[in-house]
Symmetry: C2
Subunit: 215 residues, 2 copies
């Protein structure tokens, strides 16, 4: 059965999944880039960015796993871009250039309708205005038996966690502090929601935890 | 100069420094014991508990460091016992039996006066009713040039952090989730308070972080 999975979601020691004040210059919020340093170094990300070889080992194993067996993606709107409200600029096609790293249909949650966009490399962005359940249903339909990847951000993950729809959640705790921003577990009781810590692997770059839903 | 240091303060992946509902049976709150498993296994703690040898290595190095060069301790009242309000039971002398692991003067923050208690092994409990500054002043005085250790709990640490009085804070993130309880960094902006992540060392049992105040 198709699962809803989150892979490679990085948080700071003080629990933030993104820094404050996301903008065009700071897609991950101020200071947010440091959250992902462990991932950028890996072979998986280096090759994805067209930069040659990167590190192998546990960090890379997790990085790769996040992109394996995924047939469709769901993203919160802020993951797609810094623009809020209506879509004044139809030229905005995500942070990733013409060939985004998804290579599958991607369902972007938004309150504002927009026509689908076909990108190079197999990625198509669809804009879903009728909520998280609808997005999951549509993503599962086209995933063809593969899993659905949930990219974030924090608000979107929290919605799916509260609805107990996430089967697997891999987070990487990076050795940085952000001080403010969006806290992944704010108001979220993972124990009551039925999640357990199923895997734990620490490297010098990050502490990896995999939560699985057991109830 | 004498520093105010926290060593071996364990938090869960979701950020809690203690589980909910502290009581006589659950000094660390429900589920809180699992937070400290990395520490209990170490040689430092095994010997402290009179149980023979424990593990050596980075976990033990951190454990030991938390008790080294400390000339006095400060504890929040809940660290001293589960009793709230007045001191109805004068027989309560802490969780640790006749020979507590401090072996120095220990200043317990409370709103309710109580006479000092001399224990075996060099530990004396003093009860401070005039706040965190007074406790730190008294502890520094008797520490004789050594550092002052702050044992917790969360509320006490937060007070000292907000006052920017903590020089060094070692936390260990344990691979457990608690779901609820007291969150160490709730309402605390470590960046604005002037702290930086100075050390990071991950083992299979815990991820150790040392914060230092740089401003």
């Amino acid at each position: 059965m198709s699962k809803l999975r989150i892979g490679n979601f990085s948080i700071s020691i003080d629990g933030f999944g993104a820094g404050p004040n996301q903008s065009l210059d700071n897609p991950l919020g101020v200071g947010g880039h440091a959250l992902h340093e462990w991932a950028f170094r890996t072979d998986t990300f280096q090759k994805m960015l067209g930069k040659g070889e990167g590190t192998k080992g546990p960090d890379n194993d997790f990085a790769m796993r996040g992109f394996t067996n995924i047939g469709a993606w769901i993203l919160g709107r802020n993951m797609f871009g810094p623009i809020r409200g209506l879509w004044p600029d139809k030229n905005w096609k995500g942070w990733w250039g013409n060939n985004p790293p998804y290579h599958t249909p991607v369902f972007v949650l938004t309150h504002h309708p927009r026509e689908s966009i076909t990108m190079d490399g197999g990625t198509t962005f669809h804009f879903v205005t009728d909520g998280i359940f609808s997005a999951l249903e549509r993503a599962t339909d086209v995933a063809n038996g593969l899993d659905v990847g949930l990219g974030g951000g924090v608000a979107t993950i929290q919605q799916y966690l509260r609805a107990r729809l996430i089967d697997e959640l891999h987070i990487a705790i990076s050795p940085v502090i952000l001080g403010s921003g969006e806290r992944l577990f704010s108001g979220i009781n993972m124990v009551e929601l039925g999640y357990r810590c199923a895997e734990h692997m620490a490297t010098e770059n990050a502490t990896h935890i995999v939560f699985k839903k057991v109830m």
